[in-house]
């Protein structure tokens, strides 16, 4: 099926609440068909003629010394080109200590096996609690608050390590052609990927291009310059003057390409009988593996008035892979602790958790969202925490998020060709948010033509500079600039027509793909474009132009679930996600972004967990079978509600929807069973232990 064979627009009748909220109410993702039919070429699909294949040698244990290896024997395996051992020690499972280069993927595997590393294991630490944790040290003010409070909540909240699980593993194909090079990298930053590349490839930035047309999952871990993979592939390609293909195996991707770090928060919070929070101590630990930094938790988040909080943080190191940014770094783990803590306080004080939040909420917008969400989910049906009997108990919970709107360096071009075709260009990449679609919609709207007139080019460092996809800035950065560039191209076209008719450009307009003069049909788009002098019109704009999104993107989520108290299994039935993102460009991709965030948040709340063997430090579930990710039967009904009240400009939407979910699930489980489970994932064994009074 070709893209042209399906209509650009497909009606969306299911979510009436969102109808009319977006610039385009019915556009489908431009590259949907390419993606589902396999026509979309990902970097990992770039098998080039005459290519060599490279792979890393890595430590399979948490800590070990490389006693011996058979790299000389491995070099003799037919098809093996090069074996290099560069390290003698592994500090975590996945720690790379060398590489093999071979003529084929099969020869590579045989070569890697033949290296036959002999490792001598050493004792490991595999989690935060294996470290020496500082004792809580409340200062005088905190001690005073805690002494005066009617109640003090003392609790420990724990979160696990979550891995990114990109369907397309990390990697690159580098094609060095002597004088120039093409670099196909699975990256969240076509421009950022040039960091570290010039040296490795031995060419100036002007002589090579980074291409990433499609990326199979980018949740933060692919914002790492060219990555270890790109740098090594570049060096090898330059050295051998042949294309080099280097993509991680699933085991490596699960251990050596970053994660959402684990967290431990010990709280002592003082509050009054009526639930007024006075403040207290939040002592946090981030489990960063061998990383230096990156273990922060956004707790307290600043969304709620929690009085005077003394917040201490330490990163704790152990024998695990280092964290990397992961969709809203630090936020879901912080929100889990904060929301569950609020519900525990509310229950103790005998206050409804919704009422408590309405009282503590610092944002008027989120208060309104809370009220709307409560109405949709049917909060009035919520039974009091701990009041239910029976095997199946229902629970409701709330979570929230706020996200600022940054912008990254962005230049955009809109080209109008003499044949009438339009091209929107910037070099940024699409990590799955619908970059092509939003660019096309902004361009079509600004010019006044149907969406089908616009083609999009992205994913190349030879195009005008575009932002890296981190911090949810890609759409907020590109959309206004795209619109400004399109308006400029339109102006040039209308000036051309006006000049030919010895009239003033202000008499002309474009609507629905037709040129109007004084409001009346004057000529078709094709006729107008045929008059373009030279080959084409190019409208350009840069960062700072166009209407910038201001303020926060806010979100609240409501979870409605059931707990089977005989088995401990949690069944999530509904998630209502009220979310603002400024002006909505494309309704479907915006809704899909929210739904995707909720799914990832549920998966984090209920299932995902990196399991390191306590003795050897090896990740035992370095695959996608025993590393558990939410599947179709675990999907609740998810209702994204687009909140556009007072919207100006385009704001962030990528990360915020993943923030509230785990906290909302934990609150709902507490509401259902009457005992908090203070550790995610909320697996049946933990729920049963809580029910049995074994604590959280």
């Amino acid at each position: 099926m070709r893209r042209d064979d399906i209509p650009y627009s497909m009606p969306t009748t299911n979510r009436p609440r969102n109808a009319g909220s977006a610039i385009s109410d019915d556009a489908s993702r431009l590259d949907a068909v390419a993606k589902v039919t396999g026509q979309a070429i990902y970097s990992r699909d770039r098998y080039l003629p005459n290519s060599l294949f490279a792979g890393f040698i890595f430590c399979p244990y948490g800590k070990a010394k490389l006693e011996s290896h058979a790299s000389e024997a491995a070099k003799k395996i037919p098809g093996v080109v090069e074996v290099e051992i560069s390290g003698r020690e592994g500090q975590y499972h996945g720690h790379t200590v060398g590489h093999v280069l071979a003529e084929s993927p099969e020869a590579l595997r045989r070569g890697l096996a033949a290296v036959a590393c002999k490792w001598v294991r050493e004792p490991v630490r595999t989690k935060i609690r294996d470290g020496e944790l500082a004792e809580p040290s409340p200062n005088a003010k905190t001690s005073d608050i805690l002494a005066k409070a009617d109640h003090v909540l003392e609790a420990e909240y724990e979160t696990q390590v979550q891995t990114h699980c990109c369907l397309e593993p990390h990697g690159a194909t580098i094609d060095h052609k002597g004088e120039s090079a093409t670099c196909y990298i699975s990256t969240q930053g076509t421009f950022a990927a040039t960091d570290g590349l010039s040296d490795a490839i031995g060419l100036p930035r002007s002589k090579y291009e980074v291409i990433c047309e499609y990326i199979g999952g980018g949740f933060g871990s692919k914002l790492n310059g060219a990555g270890k993979e790109g740098v090594l592939a570049a060096r090898l390609s330059a050295g051998h003057n042949r294309p080099v293909y280097l993509f991680r195996t699933r085991e490596e991707d699960q251990t050596d390409t970053g994660n959402r770090p684990s967290g431990l928060a010990r709280v002592k919070i003082g509050f009054t009988k009526d639930g007024t929070i006075l403040g207290g101590l939040v002592q946090k630990f981030g489990g960063v593996g061998v990383g230096r930094g990156g273990g922060g938790m956004s707790f307290p988040s600043g969304r709620y008035n929690l009085g005077d909080i003394q917040s201490d943080h330490d990163d704790v190191r152990f024998n695990g892979g280092a964290p990397r940014p992961f969709r809203a770094p630090g936020h879901p783990q912080g929100a889990f602790c904060e929301e569950l803590m609020l519900d525990e306080i509310a229950t103790k004080a005998g206050v409804d958790p919704l009422a408590l939040r309405l009282n503590l909420e610092n944002s008027g917008a989120r208060k309104e969202m809370l009220e709307l969400g409560a109405e949709i989910v049917g909060w009035k049906n919520r039974a009091k925490t701990g009041s239910q009997a029976g095997v199946i108990r229902r629970g409701f919970g709330i979570g929230s998020a706020a996200w600022g709107s940054g912008q990254g360096r962005t230049d955009c071009e809109v080209v109008i060709n003499r044949d009438g075709s339009i091209e929107a260009r910037t070099g940024t990449q699409d990590i799955g948010t619908g970059q092509r679609t939003t660019m096309a919609i902004m361009t079509a709207e600004a010019i006044g033509v149907p969406l089908a007139f616009v083609g999009v080019r992205i994913g190349s460092s030879n195009l005008p500079v575009g932002p890296g996809s981190g911090g949810s800035v890609t759409t907020p950065s590109t959309a206004p600039v795209m619109a400004a560039a399109a308006a400029r191209a339109r102006e040039q076209l209308l000036t051309t027509i006006a000049n030919l008719n010895s009239a003033d450009a202000s008499e002309f307009d474009v609507k629905g793909g037709e040129i109007l003069r004084a409001g009346k049909p004057f000529m078709t788009w094709a006729q107008a474009c045929a008059k373009i002098g030279g080959e084409q019109i190019v409208g350009r704009a840069k960062q700072g132009e166009g209407e910038r999104g201001k303020g926060h993107s806010d979100g609240v989520q409501f979870v409605d679930l059931r707990v089977d108290t005989d088995t401990g299994v949690v069944y999530v039935d509904r998630v209502i996600a009220v979310q603002s993102c400024g002006r909505v460009i494309c309704r479907k991709t915006a809704e899909s972004q929210i739904i995707g965030g909720v799914i990832q948040g549920l998966s984090y709340a209920l299932f995902e967990n990196q399991v390191l063997d306590r003795n050897a430090g090896s990740m035992l579930n370095a695959n996608m079978e025993s590393y558990k990710i939410l599947g179709p039967n675990d999907m609740p009904h998810i209702e994204p509600v687009l909140w556009t009240k007072g919207a100006t400009g385009v704001r962030s939407l990528g990360e915020p929807p993943v923030v509230p979910t785990a906290g909302a699930v934990a609150c709902a489980v507490f509401n259902a069973i009457g005992t908090p489970v203070r550790s995610i994932p909320l697996t049946p064994d933990k729920v049963l232990a809580a029910l049995a009074g074994g604590g959280a």
Binding site: R109, T567, Y571, V611, L620, S626, G631, P684
Partner: protein
Amino acid sequence: MNPFSLARPKDHAATHALLTGRRFSLPLLKGGGMDVVDHLKEGLWKPDVVIDTRHLRAPGASAPISKDGQTIRIEAWATMSEIAASDILLKDAPCVAHAVGSAASPQVRNVGTAAGNLLQRPRCWYYRNEQFQCLKKGGGTCFAFEGENKFHAIFGEGPCYIVHPSNLAPALCITDAVVHLHGGKRASLPITDLYHTPDKGIRTEHNLEPGEIVTHITLSPAPVSGFYAIKEKQSFDWPLAFACAALQLDGSTIRSARVCAGAVAPVPWLLPGVDAALKGVDLDDDKALRAACAKATEGARPLSQNAYKLTMLPVAVRRAVLMAAGKKVEA
């Protein structure tokens, strides 16, 4: 993965010849081939020939699932999807259809075969990892015992604590199933003799001799039978504990019961104590039913991380019993 030949012998005799002849030193049978490929990818097995068996037809084979008088027959090559959707099984032995229909994912069930399901190897994550030379692979330690054993056995004397992975086997254990063989000294083996506990041989789970090929399975009808599994994830996940129950009822009173548990022991775990306790229980007396099912954990010895299975197993048994009787279960 190492290079290997793929063979498609014309009949069982030719298959047996390949398995026992000199041409290949490490022959390996495959049904759907999923567990075989997993082992090849993990570097655990290095066969020189993989022998496909799905096209082999035993005498009398017609449909993947058939019934002759009071004997139900499942061919070795019947896919899990076929078993799960079989009208014969859904009516005459629903525990078998439901147990298999609950396993894995639709994609896996479309490929996995009856014989392959019975003979698949355990999922212990140390066993599946090339780096851990555990007892089962000829090494000196069970890494699960002092390691991550949340998904391991609560029954058995060790020294290996796998749970048997098959959903089908426990259902067959309560339906008097017989596994029919070609190529050995015997023509068949009762399902309850197919497996052995680790203390009787740790390297394998089953009692087939080299060269023996499963041709088909026969079983007796158990129209009042049911299955219930408790899983963390409802898609594509292995059960934490499950049970199959076959009943004879007198109204709502249990005249006799046979219960077998899965995912709790290195072999399908028959529960004679529960069978006895269920006798005479009125299904509408939930207190009595729960008390009888509580017997399921007698003799269990959980490891450091799996005591939660002690709570789950009686629940799985109770719900399997209720399912068998066509009663509603909570979830």
